[in-house]
């Protein structure tokens, strides 16, 4: 595959015909060349990728295997509690070193020739380094310090661990920005307890999910649970929080009485509004107040691999992992707070029914992204339209469910990072 050498070559890959991000060429969802460029400019570029929660590796010498884009990475906590991340590729012949998804280890050795590394990825042992009976062995100029595992810069914020290949990118705190940090501060305001993860796999491009979480317009329409039970309707009070650069986004949705009885849905005959739908056990929709700033939903997307979600009392850190141009994996890491009562833990488990791979209110998301993937096969030259709220004032867009401004902002920022 020919990699574009500079932005002017990259421009030929796909064309965004408008500067405002309102027209998206469908090739960005399927082109192997675009995917290749994303690996270079985003995942190996000046971007912090979310790799895990500190709560997943709470003890000294805990580790987990994950990815930054396509690159296999291991995240560790050493005996002193220091977090590290390194590429899971032996410095000798390139084999995967750590084959376990998670665990606890003081050192890691490659199965192939038993080269071994410490928690931080430094080379600690080469079998028969001095040969056998004085014969063979490594050359005199072989320096272990030059043959460690490739290490990434690693920082964490509020227990969320990020890594980057770039030396030149800003600190993690600056990358997140004040607006996004404040949203994370709200969720991670006290110690958490990890409750486990679930995984969903979609045959669609990872950016379709990135758009999905920035698009409340669909929430009021695709998911019958939202509109029918008035969790989210077109009239719901909403607040969009934008970062400075446009890569990240957060949306908050507030409990809003709809005195019209969903008249707008009934008049428009919106098929996904199910007037007759009744539940026997409504406790699944209960929201126990637990934040100073009370909102039913907070969905925060930190580009490219993280979505932090509060859906009522269901708290989840979602990790988004691209798996080639036409697939992605979504890992839902559920958590509660360390001071939760057993009843509250049960309530969170009950509300987990709302989200995740079998989520009553959101299972349709990956189905919708697949519909786009399948519908846009070989749709070269044609464009997606994100016009909702395009000529509305920023103040209107900032408090409307029916706005695609976050989608437009995302594509502008994406073009900038990608040099497209």
């Amino acid at each position: 595959m020919n990699q574009p050498a500079n932005p002017s070559d990259a421009e030929k890959l796909v064309c965004f015909p408008r500067e405002d991000g309102s027209r998206i060429p469908y090739e960005v969802y399927s082109s192997p060349q675009v995917y290749q460029l994303e690996q270079e400019r985003i995942f190996r570029g000046p971007i912090w990728s979310f790799v895990g929660m500190e709560a997943e590796i709470p003890l000294p010498n805990d580790f987990k295997s994950t990815f930054v884009g396509d690159t296999p990475v291991v995240v560790t906590r050493d005996a002193d509690g220091i977090l590290s991340a390194w590429v899971n590729r032996c410095a000798h012949r390139g084999a995967i070193v750590c084959r376990a998804p998670r665990g606890n280890a003081r050192s890691f050795s490659c199965a192939y020739h038993q080269w071994s590394y410490d928690c931080r990825g430094n080379l600690r042992g080469v079998p028969f380094r001095n040969g056998v009976n004085g014969i063979c062995g490594m050359p005199a100029d072989f320096d272990s310090n030059e043959h460690g595992l490739e290490q990434l810069r690693t920082e964490s914020y509020r227990g969320l661990i990020f890594a980057t290949f770039s030396d030149r990118t800003a600190s993690l705190a600056d990358y997140l920005g004040q607006q996004m940090r404040e949203r994370l501060d709200r969720i991670f305001h006290k110690p958490i307890t990890y409750l486990g993860c679930t995984r969903q796999y979609s045959r669609s491009n990872w950016k379709l999910y990135t758009e999905n979480v920035r698009d409340p317009y669909h929430a009021a329409l695709l998911h019958p649970f939202f509109s029918t039970f008035n969790l989210v309707r077109a009239s719901t009070r909403i607040e969009h929080i934008f970062d400075q650069g446009g890569l990240h986004h957060c949306v908050m949705l507030f409990q809003t009485e709809d005195n019209s009885g969903a008249a707008a849905y009934k008049e428009s005959k919106i098929a996904s509004f199910k007037e007759g739908l009744r539940l026997e056990d409504l406790s699944i929709l209960a929201n126990v107040r637990e934040f100073k700033e009370e909102a039913n939903f907070q969905i925060q997307s930190i580009f490219p691999q993280l979505v932090v979600q509060q859906v009522q009392n269901s708290l989840v850190v979602r990790q988004l992992l691209p798996k080639g141009p036409q697939s992605f994996e979504l890992i839902f890491n559920f958590f509660g707070y360390s001071d939760d009562t057993p009843e509250m833990v049960m309530h969170r488990i009950k509300e987990a029914n709302l989200v995740g791979p079998a989520g009553l209110i959101s299972m349709e998301d990956t189905f919708a992204t697949e519909l786009i993937q399948f519908g846009t096969a070989h749709a070269g030259g044609t464009l997606s339209v994100a016009d909702m709220g395009r000529d509305a004032a920023d103040t209107e867009n900032a408090r409307s469910v029916i706005s695609e401004k976050p989608v437009r902002r995302f594509w502008r920022a994406y073009q900038e990072v990608m040099g497209l």
Binding site: P101, Y194, L195, G196, C197, T198, R199, Q200, Y201, S202, R203, L222, H223, P224, F225, T228, S272, K274, G276, L277, R278, L279, E280, D281, I284, E329, F334, V345, M346, I349, K350, A352, N353, G356, P357, A358, L360, M363, E364, T366, F367, A368, E370
Partner: protein
């Protein structure tokens, strides 16, 4: 199977065979109501205060509680079916369950713990059948006035990546 005081196999009694038959039939009925889209009958196979859960093995192995579906009581089972019929959007699909290795792990009066393996083959609109989920049922059944019912059914699945979505119970 009856084991005498010395721990020696002492033959299979008629009661053993009847119990085996009854619980095997419960399992067969369970997979049949799902695989033939008679989901409205599915909650009837559970006790009123049942627990039904679908949990990935990676969590179960670590003692972590989270799964993808947790129903406490038959009303939540019925809500799942209502939601599936009326409120969820998904591609039409069918399941075929294959089960094996049914064994009783504890018999205590009218409560029995049993385990078995399951495989669910899913067929979507494109006509292709895919192995959707492999896992193990960890069940507790109780004898009620309506016969044997699931007090607890925990589907612990190996196939940790759920393809697209799970809407029909396993």
């Amino acid at each position: 199977m009856t084991v005498n005081e010395a721990g020696v196999f002492a033959g299979t009694t008629v009661a053993d065979v009847v119990l085996w038959h009854d619980l095997h039939r419960l399992q067969e009925r369970y997979v049949t109501v799902i695989d033939t889209d008679r989901l409205e009958e599915w909650p009837d196979l559970f006790a009123e205060d049942c627990v039904y859960e679908i949990v990935p093995k990676e969590n179960a192995d670590r003692g972590l509680p989270m799964g993808i579906m947790h129903c406490f009581g038959r009303s939540m089972l019925r809500d799942r079916v209502v939601s599936l019929r009326k409120a969820n959007v998904f591609e039409p699909q069918t399941y075929r369950h294959l089960t094996s290795g049914l064994e009783f792990t504890r018999i205590d009066g009218q409560t029995i713990d049993m385990q078995s393996n399951y495989v669910v083959v899913q067929t979507l609109g494109d006509g292709e059948s895919r192995l959707f989920q492999a896992g193990r049922y960890l069940d507790r059944v109780v004898l009620t006035t309506n016969g044997w019912r699931y007090q607890r059914k925990r589907a612990v699945y190996d196939t940790s990546r759920v393809q697209t979505l799970l809407v029909i119970p396993v």
